[in-house]
Amino acid sequence: QSTTSTQNSGLYDYLLPILKKNTGIQVNVVAVGTGQAIKNAMRCDGDVLLVHAKSAEEKFVAGGYGEYRRDLMYNDFVIIGPKADPANLAGARDVIDAFQRIEQAGAKFASRGDDSGTHKKERSLWQAAAIDTDAGSGQWYLETGSGMGATLNTGVSLSAYVLTDRATWIKFANKQDAAIVFEGNPSLFNQYGVIPVNADRCPNVNREAAETFTQWLLSETGQAAIGAYQVEGKPLFFPNAN
């Protein structure tokens, strides 16, 4: 089980062949929102969980659903919006400021609203910015309740601002007149974790393969491979296994 953003980023298409070459393991990717991924894993559907929602992941392990959790890699979020940048995010001091500008400018903001890692991240930022979005829900704050890609489609066509992970955005083909308007702020880093599903709870989990896969991801080779993955000349994921 994995989250959609990594799938859309094309990372797997690049990683899995290498994995197969090194270890001979064939991995099947089921890309769904982080929320669904975790719930599915709790039902033992899936051997390894690769998502980005640290707190939820730790609960998952604490609940005995997963063997252990390791940091795997991180990428970073960016805010995209119309090139015109009506809310002038370019001039924003930090993310908090950026979000406040959006609200003050009365600009539209498209949220995934699907409990995904990205969405959780965004929610925390609104809280930090002390803005109550529920009031504007349906007017300026648009909860698309969809995956990253679908939300980008919506945001772009409504010339709204969207918080997205860089990977998905770079790969995203329907950019129209939207562009990255805010990036590089450390609080936008997005930590991915990897968790083998607990084989004691789920006898049918393929333990060896899961273990090998996880270890390979954390190993020198795996990490190197992740770091080497580039799209349009830019690295998308920064390995940081500990």
Binding site: G33, G35, K39, G113, S116, G138, L142, E143, T144, Q176
Partner: protein
């Protein structure tokens, strides 16, 4: 099953959001159905009773379009209505209207193809008599629609079923935006993606209950009319 429990709690507690969503679902699907029926029924009938070169091909096409993927319909309507699209200036994208259009496009072929079949059967019986009475064109179409009305309700209900259950098209042109274009099916998809499977199922049950109601109404009226007529 606690899913239903949860779902019905929402109903009993008259959860405002749920009702907003339910109401939008029914509104969108019935509007789309109305449009499709007005177009599809006469079209299907016309194709059943009029001979012209290419007729068989049109019917083949209708049957094929019954297999039009909602996502594709959604995309086409999306491109049509999107800012940069030909009808962008209408600013309909991500409005209920857009969803109605998409669903209408989706189910019109279904209603047309199914009614075509129904009418073709009746035509085998009536054609000689109508020819003899010189009944053609609009009058013939109208007469067929009236005399086949009971069988046609099933075609229409099939269209309704497709519309109310469909998610691929409405989520693309509607965007599943909360309080704006969120309908039952997109809400279900959302809960699913959140992993709230039981709640999703509960909503599904509510949706089914809704269309059960619609079907009961339609079929009830049909039965009543039939009874009264052949007392």
């Amino acid at each position: 099953m606690d899913a239903l429990a949860e779902a019905f709690r929402l109903i009993i507690t008259l959860d405002a959001d749920l009702f907003e969503i339910l109401w939008l679902s029914i509104r969108v699907s019935l509007s789309a159905l109305a449009i499709s029926a007005v177009i599809g029924l006469p079209l299907g009938t016309y194709l059943a009773i009029t001979k012209f070169p290419g007729r068989k091909f049109c019917i083949l096409l209708l049957n094929t379009l019954m297999g039009m993927p909602p996502v594709v319909v959604g995309l086409m309507v999306y491109l049509l209505l999107s800012r940069s699209g030909p009808l962008g200036w209408l600013g309909l994208l991500y409005t209920p209207t857009a969803m109605i259009i998409a669903q209408a496009v989706l189910i019109t072929p279904i209603i047309a193809a199914l009614s075509n079949q129904v009418i073709e059967n009746l035509h085998q019986e009536y054609s000689d008599t109508f020819y003899s009475m010189g009944v053609t064109g609009r009058r013939a179409v109208a007469a067929y629609l009236v005399d086949a009305r009971y069988a046609l309700t099933t075609c229409v209900l099939a269209g309704f079923g497709r519309a109310i259950a469909e998610v691929g098209a409405v989520i693309i042109v509607g965007g599943n935006i909360d309080h704006l274009t969120r309908v039952m099916t997109t809400a279900i998809a959302l809960e699913t993606s959140k992993g709230n499977l039981t709640l999703a199922l509960g909503l599904g049950a509510v949706l089914l209950a809704l269309s059960l109601l619609v079907n009961a109404l339609v079929i009830g009226v049909r039965e009543y009319a039939a009874k009264r007529q052949y007392a």
